[in-house]
Symmetry: C2
């Protein structure tokens, strides 16, 4: 039941059926025949759809009964997405796993927001046609001892700007997986980081240290002087490696989500807790909101390009809290978490 008011402001159409692909025929793929000869666009789309299926299945297996609600949407300009949300479950208060495949034309300021770190001297003044596909997920558990997980893997191509038709097509990969607990269990954080490191090490020894630091730098809430959580890996604008290698790497990272996260959830989901633990979790959820609305490139990019708001903001927790000038007692468990958010640690060297 979509009210007339919300239909007015959303540019997406809800679809009754899920398509096999959101790709255009010009991308050279029949939906049933994605193989290694297919375009990177087609294979990336298949990878994120498979990852969505397997992550949702793993979550439903833990939830034992509660299932995801699926919304399929398309955009008039091309492409669409599949949003899956499980809300108010037994284990997760909100779990969102979205894929989207979008064709569009970016205003120059959105192009800069999406890709500010390189080519700055090179930004074309006109609108830039783009292709963007990605999987994005935030999983907020109920139990304050069970951590929030975020992961996002995306592939991006820009066509030649319309006023410079001869210019080459550009592509890049981005993504990451990061953990946001309210309380530190060192063994959990080590396990999580070691799975990230293993995925990285299969491709390039410099990846883990580089992407671990990139993650610490990226999820920085500047006005607080602290990170939103305990990191993981993050990379963006990655195109200075073999394209096939980066496609495999993104696939490996997406496939590492379940082994990195689900064992931690199994261990912590039923830990007894008090109101004090819950209030601290809620305060940390408030920081999560601050990061996502003020700094996150995916969110600000989505808001600027008029993406589907409900899919973009599904990353926000079901509930959050802001207390004036809350200061955890020095040496307390809450203080230890805050300290690790202020001073990132090398978890695998502890």
């Amino acid at each position: 039941a979509t009210s007339s008011s919300s239909r007015m402001i959303e540019k997406e159409t809800l679809e009754a059926h899920r398509p096999d692909t959101f790709l255009r025929e010009s991308d050279g793929v029949a939906s049933s025949s994605v193989d290694s000869d297919s375009s990177v666009r087609a294979r990336f789309e298949k990878m994120i759809m498979d990852a969505q299926d397997s992550v949702c299945a793993a979550i439903e297996a833990v939830e034992k009964g509660k299932t995801f609600k699926e919304d399929v949407w398309s955009r008039p300009g091309g492409g669409g997405g599949i949003s899956r949300v499980l809300q108010d479950g037994a284990v997760w208060e909100k779990a969102g796993v979205n894929v989207s495949v979008v064709y569009g034309v970016m205003p120059p300021e959105a192009y800069r927001a999406a890709k500010p770190t390189s080519d700055n001297g090179n930004v074309k003044p006109g609108p830039v046609p783009f292709f963007a596909a990605g999987i994005s997920s935030v999983l907020h558990p109920k139990n304050p001892f069970a951590p929030t997980l975020h992961f996002n893997y995306r592939y991006f191509e820009t066509d030649a700007p319309k006023d410079a038709p001869g210019a080459p097509r550009q592509w890049w990969f981005g993504g990451g997986t990061d953990l946001t607990p309210s309380y530190i269990f060192e063994e959990d954080v080590k396990h999580f980081h070691s799975v990230q490191k293993s995925a990285c090490d299969k491709f390039e020894p410099s990846f883990y240290p580089r992407f671990k630091k990139w993650c610490d730098d990226y999820f920085y809430i500047k006005h607080r002087g602290e990170r939103r959580g305990l990191g993981g890996i993050f990379f963006d604008d990655l195109n200075n490696y073999d394209q096939e290698m980066l496609l495999s790497f993104a696939t490996e990272c997406a496939n590492s989500v379940i082994p990195a996260y689900i064992p931690i959830i199994e261990k912590r989901k039923d830990t007894p807790f008090t109101d004090k633990h819950k209030a601290w979790q809620q305060l940390r959820r408030g920081r999560y909101v601050e990061f996502n609305l003020v700094y996150d490139r995916g969110t600000t990019f989505g808001l600027k390009t008029g993406g589907r708001i409900e899919s973009i903001l599904v990353s926000l927790p079901l509930t959050a809290r802001w207390e004036y000038d809350h200061q955890p007692e020095e040496g307390s468990e809450e203080w230890k978490l805050l300290d690790a958010c202020i001073n990132p640690k090398e978890w695998l060297e502890i």
Copy 2:
């Protein structure tokens, strides 16, 4: 008990005693002798301190027992502020009333964020010395039938940029008072707007219609296509009237806060409510957070200029909620509120 980590990142110093003035002696005022010969800076500072006292007293009178906590802070660059917060009261879950008087040097991008609507062709490239004084308040009640109130009145001066010492000093006033209910009681909204109109009409008949529309335009959550609440008045960059007149007008507006708001609170604070009403209030609080973190100029200006974070973010509610794709049933009380946020009404013509 400020932890070492937070001391590291805040540039403000907490003071044990409240000064009579934050002004510099060069502003030509002895703290005990503010009269009509005093500078506009001095009289504006006295006005906002008086307004802070009277609004806090009115709130404490309703709270019957719970009182505000006061923090006084100063900045090494000059000036300071008084933050007063009442949290988890009987009537308000969070009530913040802050005054600040700040001297500083703005980076050019902050200058543009603070004053984008005029003088755009005129922006000096170098850092701009400024004086800013204001009162800012957000009052979030517990009862879902009692509305949130925000008001903010501020006075701003820039000195000549350091690389253009001959340029004239500029000044302007800004501010407004607006109401954010979760449920509409038409008599409350009419009462609130009629008090705003009376304050405006004492000065200039065009003020109410103009500032009412400005308020509807300003508190717009673009990515939602809706306003955060039911408006009131808002103005900014106001300098094309007599300076004394605008000082009197800002004073009148600040003095109108109590008669506009407290009678509504008295009427609604004890209304029985259900979990459904509370959940809707919490969703609207989520929209409040979205507006403040993504669009509000005062907040984004504060975050950019390194203002005192706890004072800036005291505007955020104690608790908020985000449900995926929540759509109120057409014709319901929740739908009526949302409709009025999407299509602003002329409350005094109903």
